[in-house]
Structures are given as structure tokens and as C-alpha cells.
């Protein structure tokens, strides 16, 4: 026991959290006692004796887990081994609960953790749909309902969609560019462990006085600055999620720029790598804005600063400008990696090179640039300076052009292809084109100021964001998970269950979110527990489809768990793909390659006689690829 508390791991992490929390609590109590303030009696927005430990306990947890051990030793001048691999790779399932520096272990940690929060967020959505099935309030009261939709959105955005993409890319990106790992493996491990902390903070807010944060995931001031304690947990959770994604984005940038295999020039990068390069450019520059603005709200709440207090000279609208300066790029942070996945999946499963590869890459960069110039389209009715609306409308509509290029290029790729429709990954990619295009079209409509004036903050918006985030992002996530499942686990999944999952998800998704368009246009505002009786029938229908959608995800869960444990062994390259990650065993060996591959051509040279993307070590004369024994991934033994 004593040894477990000395070596890095969960027992020491819990001790660290306890000590960290106690330190923060003691600090507050001592300082308040010295200042002569009442120790526990504070305003509902303050509670420093809970907020400060909510910062120090997670930090203590990270220290205890061992995220900083190496750096501390190095900083203290203690002996360190630069290529110490003791925390690298997984030998049993227990290693997934420890600090690890292997990008493949971290990738799986990311994906599994974020899917855990996906199911929690989904369960919350089911409660909301049960409440909304009828007008009036039946199951939860309006205050609780406000907490439910706020938490649902925060979980889905900050600890599901954004990190699950980072997790998939963490696993496959170094393999794709022929690198042995990410550029900064220890930073990579730290990035991951900040993620569950963010999710736990969001969920803990349900337990504190005043209930969960209930000002929406947008947390507009001054509703958020005056909200009870739960809001502070949102402010802090966003810090951990944000720090995690900034660190990961830096890691991706350095990895992509400096660690490409010989011959892997930028025009030979798989589009998933291009997509993560673009996403990382957005994350590093935009995320600090939301981190900053949530600190400003926290300070307004806890320290009585006046950033957004109108009575004291604060400016309410400036919250929205700073918030959306991050959160509009964030919708592309949640979409571009998905574009990358779709390109990989469509090219591989339709046996054809991507149509217009270079324009596809340039379109990503075009979206990155434009996405910084459109944030105020969320604020057409906010009362901001009205001149800004028309320029932002034009840039918003223009961003449909690079997005359209991508859709047309995928369709061009399908033309003359050999399309393998029995593949679940392919079905989700085609489904994505159908649903995401609807979300794109409603997005263009929302970009037009006169239409936006009518439908903003109505269920039309709810429909639109779910078409782009569920019909868009989540469909690409499923496509990616199915596509790389054999690579990550070394097992094949059940395609039949996969297809059932696809069809039920598509029917549930369309049935849930299509009618939301018209109830919004007809007058139902968003974020309400109760609504006018005229919308009762449609809401009942929406709720039924939503339950179908929820149930369909249980099929996915069953398929993943059972296939991971009992599925047939996966060959190295079940899809006969060209990119490098498929040229090694499934799962890949511990440092990916015995020797770095040499890249000699484009990534999607299907149907080109004699074309090769990469020459693998030991493959010089076309001999069979010889690889060391694969390591164990999860419960794959």
C-alpha cells in the first residue's frame, strides 16, 4: 500500500487530489480567518472554499498520477534518462489507467473516455426529450432543465467531439506520417489526463448548492456572472479542456511539421493529416480566447471584478464577441478532422484517388482563414454595432464555398469508383454527405441577416447545430471509429451490427432533427422546458425518434465491447488501404516501425499500376512486410 502511494498511479493520484483539495480548502479558511471574513457564509456565486479546492485538487491529482514526475526530476537536477520508456506502451488493461507516453495508448484513452462522456451526455438528452414530449413540466422543473441542456452541450462539445477527434488523430496521425510517436510524448500524456478532469468538473456541478450550471454552454453574461456555484465549475472545466486541446494542438503541429518520414512532403500528406494541421492552427490561436473569457466570468463572480457588470461600467456584449471569437472557429475544430476522416474512408472504401486532392487541402486552409472572420454572425440580433452584420454575412456565406468544394470533391471521388457499401465506415461517410449538406444549407440561410433575425435562438438553431454536429461531426466520428477499429484493437467488428447501427442512427437522427426546423420557424424558442401547446404533437414525434436514436447507440456500444473482446483477429490491412498506418500490423508494434518508412508517392494511388505511397522497412524488394510481435491493446488477448 505504501509503495502504491509512492509510485505514480491512481492510488497516489487520489492521495494527491486529497492533499491538493485540503491545501486549497485550508488556504481559503486561513485567509478568510485572517481577514476577519465569515468563513463559510458567502454569496451564492462565491463559495471560495469550494472553488479553490476545485482547482487545487485536480492539479494534485495530475501530480500524483505522475504527469510531472519526469519534469520535476529534470528541473530539480536529479538524474533523468532522456529516452526513458518505462511509461510507454500498455501491457495490460491496467496500463490504460496510468500516465502513459505512447501515442497509441493515449489515443485509446482519449477515444474511450470521450465516448464515456458521449453516453452520459446522451442520457441527459434522453431525460430532456422525455420532459419535452409534452407541453408543461412533468419530469424535471425548469431550473433543473436549464442545468440539463447546459451540461449536455458542455459534455458533448468540450469532452466528446473535440477530444475524440484528437484521440483518433493521436492514434493514427504519427503512423500516417511515418513517425515513431508524437513530438512531445509526456505533454501528450498530460493533455489526455486534463480531459477527464474537465468532464468530472462539469458533472460535479450537479452536486453543489444551486445545482448544475444553467446559463447554457454559451454562458452569456450577466446571467452567468450572477448564477449559483455550478457556473464556476463550468468556468473551471473549460480551462482544463481548453489547456488539454491547446497542448495537443501544439503537439500535432510540431509532429506534422518536423517528424514526417523522408519523402513525405506536404502534397503527399493524407488528408486526415492536412485536416488536423488546419484544426491545430485554429485551436492554438482561438482557444485562449474562451479560456480568457471564462476566467473573466469567474473573476466577476468570485472577485467582484466588473468585466461584464453593466451597473459598474462593464460591457455585456463584449462577452459575446470574445466567446464567439473562439466558438465560431470551434465549430470548424469540431468539423475539419471529420472532413479528414471522410476523405480517408471514401477513398479507401471506393478504391479511388481523392478527386482534386490539392484543392481539398487548400479548401481546409481557406476554411481556417475565413472562420476567423465570421464570429459575429452569432450576434446579428445581439444589439451589437449594426454595421458589422453585412461584412460578417458575406464572409459567412463565402465559407460555404470551400465547404462545397469538399462535398463536390467527395462526390467526384465516388464517380467511377468501386464502392464497398457493406462497410459501415463507408455507410456513415455517405450518410454524412446527405445530412451534413442539410446542415450546411441551413447554415447558409442562418448566415443571411433577415432570416437569422427571425429564427435565431429558436428550435431552427437547435436543428441546425444538430445537423452539423450530429449529422456532421458524430457521423464522421462513427466512420472513423469503424474504419480504424481493426487497427486500434487488432480485432474486426461485426459489420452486420454496424449496418443496423447506421440505419437506426440515420432514421433516428433525421426524425429527431428535421421537425425541429419547422417548429422553430413557427415560433418555438430554444432552451425551454415548457412550450406552447401548438407544438405538442411535433415534440412527441421528435422525442420518439430521439429515443430510437439513443437506443441505436447501445447497439454500437455492444458491438464495440464484444468485438474488442471476442472479434476475429484483424489482419494488418483489412481494407487494402495505401496509407502507412495500414502497412504495419494491427495493432502496430510499440514504436510503430523497426525503421522509418520512405515515402515515394501520393497517399491514394488506387488503380495506378505500380504506384506506391511508401516503402516499408524490409519491403525493398516487394517481400512480405516483416514486423515485430504486436503489443497488446486493451483486452485483446
Amino acid at each position: 500500500m505504501a509503495a502504491a502511494l509512492r509510485t505514480p498511479g491512481q492510488p497516489r493520484a487520489l492521495l494527491g487530489a486529497l492533499l491538493g483539495g485540503a491545501f486549497g480548502f485550508g488556504l481559503v479558511v486561513a485567509l478568510r480567518a485572517i481577514s476577519g471574513l465569515p468563513i463559510f457564509d458567502t454569496d451564492p456565486t462565491d463559495y471560495p472554499h469550494i472553488v479553490v479546492p476545485a482547482v487545487t485538487a485536480p492539479l494534485g491529482y495530475l501530480v500524483g498520477l505522475g504527469c510531472f514526475d519526469y519534469w520535476f526530476r529534470w528541473a530539480a537536477g536529479a538524474p533523468t534518462v532522456p529516452d526513458d520508456h518505462s511509461q510507454h506502451g500498455a501491457h495490460s488493461w491496467r496500463d490504460y489507467f496510468k500516465f502513459n507516453t505512447d501515442h497509441k495508448v493515449i489515443g485509446i484513452q482519449y477515444v474511450v473516455t470521450s465516448f464515456f462522456f458521449f453516453f452520459v451526455g446522451g442520457a441527459i438528452a434522453m431525460v430532456m426529450r422525455a420532459e419535452l414530449a409534452q407541453p408543461g413540466t412533468q419530469i424535471v422543473d425548469p431550473g433543473v432543465f436549464n442545468g440539463l441542456f447546459s451540461t449536455h452541450a458542455a459534455l458533448m462539445i468540450f469532452v466528446f467531439v473535440i477530444p475524440v477527434f484528437a484521440g483518433l488523430a493521436n492514434y493514427v496521425l504519427p503512423l500516417m506520417i511515418g513517425a515513431p510517436d508524437m513530438a512531445f510524448p509526456r505533454l501528450n500524456g498530460l493533455s489526455f489526463w486534463m480531459l477527464p478532469i474537465a468532464g468530472v468538473l462539469f458533472l460535479t456541478s450537479f452536486l453543489v448548492p444551486g445545482g448544475a450550471f444553467d446559463a447554457g454552454w454559451t454562458g452569456y453574461a450577466p446571467l452567468s456572472t450572477g448564477a449559483p456555484l455550478g457556473q464556476s465549475f463550468f468556468n473551471l472545466g473549460v480551462q482544463f479542456a481548453g489547456a488539454s486541446s491547446v497542448a495537443t494542438a501544439l503537439n500535432f503541429l510540431v509532429t506534422i511539421i518536423t517528424m514526417r518520414a523522408p519523402g513525405m512532403n506536404f502534397w503527399r500528406l493524407p488528408l486526415l493529416v492536412w485536416a488536423n494541421l488546419s484544426t491545430s492552427l485554429l485551436v492554438v490561436a482561438a482557444t485562449p480566447f474562451i479560456a480568457g473569457v471564462q476566467f473573466m466570468v469567474l473573476f466577476d463572480r468570485a472577485l467582484d471584478t466588473n468585466f461584464f457588470q453593466p451597473d459598474a461600467g462593464g460591457d455585456v456584449i463584449s462577452y459575446q464577441h470574445i466567446f464567439w471569437f473562439y466558438s465560431h472557429p470551434a465549430v470548424y475544430i469540431m468539423m475539419l478532422p471529420g472532413f479528414g476522416i471522410i476523405s480517408e474512408v471514401i477513398s479507401t472504401h471506393s478504391r479511388k484517388p481523392i478527386f482534386g486532392y490539392r484543392l481539398m487541402a487548400l479548401a481546409l486552409i481557406g476554411i481556417v482563414v475565413l472562420s476567423y472572420t465570421v464570429w459575429a454572425h452569432h450576434m446579428f440580433v445581439s444589439g451589437m454595432f449594426s454595421w458589422l452584420r453585412v461584412p460578417m454575412m458575406i464572409t459567412t456565406l463565402l465559407i460555404a464555398v470551400p465547404t462545397g468544394i469538399k462535398v463536390f470533391s467527395w462526390l467526384g471521388t465516388l464517380f467511377g469508383s468501386v464502392m464497398h457499401l457493406y462497410s459501415t465506415a463507408m455507410l456513415f461517410s455517405l450518410g454524412f454527405i446527405v445530412t451534413f449538406t442539410i446542415g450546411g444549407i441551413s447554415g447558409v440561410m442562418l448566415g443571411m441577416v433577415p432570416i437569422d433575425i427571425h429564427v435565431s435562438d429558436t428550435y431552427f438553431i437547435v436543428a441546425h447545430i444538430h445537423f452539423v454536429l450530429f449529422g456532421g461531426s458524430v457521423f464522421t466520428i462513427f466512420a472513423g471509429v469503424y474504419h480504424w477499429f481493426p487497427k486500434m484493437t487488432g480485432r474486426m467488428y461485426d459489420e452486420r451490427l454496424g449496418r443496423v447501427h447506421f440505419w437506426l442512427t440515420t432514421v433516428g437522427m433525421l426524425g429527431s432533427f428535421i421537425p425541429m426546423h419547422w417548429i422553430g420557424m413557427e415560433g418555438m424558442p430554444r432552451r425551454v422546458a415548457d412550450y406552447s401547446a401548438q407544438f405538442g404533437d411535433w415534440n412527441l414525434i421528435i422525442s420518439c425518434f430521439a429515443f430510437l436514436l439513443g437506443a441505436a447507440q447501445l447497439i454500437f456500444l455492444y458491438n464495440m465491447i464484444v468485438s474488442w473482446r471476442f472479434g476475429p483477429r484483424a489482419p494488418g490491412n483489412p481494407w487494402r488501404a495505401k496509407t502507412i498506418e495500414w502497412q504495419v500490423s494491427s495493432p502496430p508494434p510499440i514504436f510503430n516501425f523497426p525503421d522509418i518508412p520512405r515515402v515515394v508517392g501520393g497517399p491514394y494511388e488506387f488503380g495506378v499500376p505500380g504506384a506506391k505511397h511508401a516503402i516499408m522497412p524490409g519491403d525493398e524488394e516487394g517481400a512480405d512486410v516483416k514486423q515485430p510481435e504486436p503489443t497488446v491493446a486493451g483486452s485483446a488477448t
Partner: protein, 350 residues
């Protein structure tokens, strides 16, 4: 691809465009149109429906054709044609959408200018929003109400302020919406052109009572509107409520007079948006039922609970739900009247 296939595909795209557009244009998606602005916005929407149907038809036809034509047979392990792109086609699907969206943007801008054009003889209404109630003042007529009455076929300019958090003013039938922001005065105009009863709906999340923060809207003829204004003026004069209460100081000594003024303050300040009170006919359940909780309280305690709501919480209701702005928004006189009214109307229910 042969020329005949291309022609057939383009034909299918156009046919599908027509089918989708015709079906979609059968519905009044935005519901009843009750203002001149609504007609403009609905026209823009219709144009967008046709344009979107065309774009979506291209996607569906290309996708459907590919699935039908290029589906792999079981066991087929061949590769597709190694086509890497087509520069002319790529330039086309960059430039054509650019032209389309820029045209659409220009058209939206024209519509925007039209719906925001100001008429010289517009009616002024000052709107005050607070958790969770609306109040409307007619500065030229010196009238205040919790109902919004406007004459038909005359532009109305709403100048809006919020007392606590952000709210949003929306009458769905008018299609016009603008946030009501603390610390700012925001403006919006609408020209109702259809008589009837509608609602102001709050569309910006403003707290626990957001879903039920509504106010009735009556669009009526100029004569009916004038009559309503006259009626309101009469009531204010007789009741001695609000601002003029001080002038009727002598009469305010009489408890029942004071309580009558209090009743008006109760509805105008938004109390009835959250609380049940039999005497005022309100049945909301966001805050405690006043008939129950006030019966046990002294006037001083009631006053305390209005200005500092969290000082004494009723079971089942958390801190921070009720706005703590009433000490600012009500003056001494009004507060006294409100307390008197609440004491009177709940005393009997002990």
C-alpha cells in the same frame, strides 16, 4: 461518362429541384405573416428554398447515381479509375458557388435595408424586460402597460432596456427580433399589418422562468388603439399608481387605496410571472405560492423578502432564483404599496 448520361443527370437534377421546391413552397414555414417585414423575409426564404433545392438536388443525384452505378459486387477487389481531378471542373465548382452566394448576400442586404427602413411617423414604445416580465411604456401617451397594444399599418419603434440579464424581444408573426441588453438601449422596428392577438416571446435564455416569459400583443385599428390608450389613462388617473402616486399622497393613507396601487405594481413589476397569488389571479409556479408563504409573515418580513429575496428562502426554492433588483426598480412609495397589497391579500388565507 457519355454525353447522354450527362444530359440525363442534369435532367434529373432539374426535375428533382422542381419537385422539392414545389413541395416545400406549399407550406407557410414561418407561420402567419403579421407585418410588412414578414412578407419580405418570407420572400427571401422562398428564394432560398428554391436555391437550396437546386444545390441539394445536385448532391443527391450525384450520390444516388454513384451508388446505383458503381456499387461493388461481392468479392470485387478491383480498383476504380485513377482519376486525380479535373482542373476545369474544380474551377467551376469554386467559382459558380462563389457567384451564387455573393448574389444571395447582395439580395439579403437589400431585404435587410428594406425591413429596417424607418418611417417618420412611427409610434414609439419603450420596452423594459426583467426576469420574467415585459413592460411597455408609451412615452407620447404617458401610458404604461404589461400588454402590448399597437395600431395596425403603422410602424412601431421599440426602444428596449433590460434591468437584469439579457432577454430577447420576438413576435414570431412579425419575424422581428432583437436582444434586450442590460446597460444598452437597443432598437427594433416592425410594421404590423394584420389585426389579431399574438405574443411577445423571450428567446434569450434568461433564467428559470425563461420559457414562460411572454406578454400578450394586440394589433388593432387606430380607433380601438386610441380607445385603449384613453382607458389606460383613465385607470392611471383614478388608481394613483406608479409615478403620480406621490401627488395623491393624502389618499394613499387609506390602506385600500394603497393596496389598489400595489396590485398594479404587482403585475407591472412581473411578480405574477413567477408567483401564484389568488387575489391577482396569477398561477405561476416558478417561485413560491404567495398565498401560502406570506400568510405567516409580517409586513417587514415581506418587504425584506422583496428587496433581498435570499434572506429567507422557502422550502424547495434555491437562492438566486428571484431577481434582487427590486430595491432599485421600485421607489419607497411603490414598495410600501406593494407590501400593503401583499399583506392585505394574503392575510385572509392564514
Amino acid at each position: 461518362m457519355t454525353r447522354a448520361t450527362l444530359v440525363r443527370m442534369v435532367g434529373a437534377m432539374l426535375a428533382l429541384t422542381v419537385v422539392i421546391s414545389v413541395v416545400m413552397l406549399q407550406f407557410d414555414w414561418n407561420g402567419v405573416a403579421g407585418s410588412t417585414e414578414a412578407d419580405e423575409i418570407d420572400l427571401l426564404l422562398d428564394v432560398m428554398i428554391v436555391l437550396s433545392s437546386f444545390v441539394y438536388s445536385i448532391v443527391l443525384v450525384m450520390l444516388g447515381y454513384s451508388i446505383w452505378r458503381y456499387r461493388a459486387k461481392p468479392g470485387d477487389e478491383s480498383d476504380g479509375e485513377p482519376i486525380h481531378g479535373n482542373t476545369k471542373l474544380e474551377i467551376a465548382w469554386t467559382m459558380i458557388p462563389t457567384v451564387i452566394v455573393l448574389t444571395a448576400a447582395a439580395y439579403s442586404w437589400v431585404i435587410l435595408d428594406r425591413i429596417e427602413a424607418r418611417e417618420p411617423d412611427r409610434l414609439q414604445v419603450d420596452v423594459t424586460a426583467q426576469q420574467f416580465a415585459w413592460r411597455f411604456e408609451y412615452p407620447d401617451q404617458q401610458v404604461t402597460s404589461t400588454e402590448l397594444h399597437v395600431p395596425v399599418d403603422r410602424q412601431v419603434e421599440f426602444s428596449m432596456q433590460a434591468l437584469d440579464v439579457i432577454h430577447s424581444f420576438w413576435v414570431p408573426e412579425w419575424r422581428m427580433k432583437k436582444d434586450v441588453v442590460p446597460g444598452l438601449t437597443t432598437h427594433i422596428t416592425a410594421t404590423p399589418d394584420r389585426e389579431g392577438n399574438y405574443s411577445v416571446v423571450c428567446t434569450e435564455l434568461c433564467g428559470i422562468g425563461h420559457a414562460t416569459m411572454r406578454a400578450p400583443v394586440v394589433v388593432e385599428t387606430q380607433e380601438e388603439f386610441d380607445a385603449w390608450i384613453a382607458e389606460q389613462e383613465g385607470e392611471e388617473g383614478a388608481g394613483g399608481a406608479g409615478g403620480p402616486a406621490g401627488e395623491a399622497g393624502g389618499a394613499a393613507e387609506e390602506p385600500s387605496e394603497e393596496a389598489a396601487a400595489g396590485e398594479q405594481i404587482f403585475t407591472e413589476s412581473g411578480c405574477s410571472g413567477c408567483h401564484t397569488l389568488a387575489a391577482a389571479g396569477s398561477t405561476a409556479d416558478i417561485g413560491p405560492d404567495l398565498d401560502e408563504v406570506l400568510a405567516q409573515r409580517t409586513p417587514d418580513e415581506i418587504e425584506q423578502s422583496i428587496v433581498d429575496p435570499d434572506s429567507q428562502l422557502s422550502p424547495g426554492f434555491g437562492a438566486g432564483i428571484m431577481p434582487d433588483t427590486f430595491s432599485d426598480s421600485l421607489d419607497e412609495e411603490q414598495l410600501k404599496a406593494l407590501v400593503a397589497y401583499l399583506t392585505d391579500s394574503t392575510a385572509g388565507t392564514k
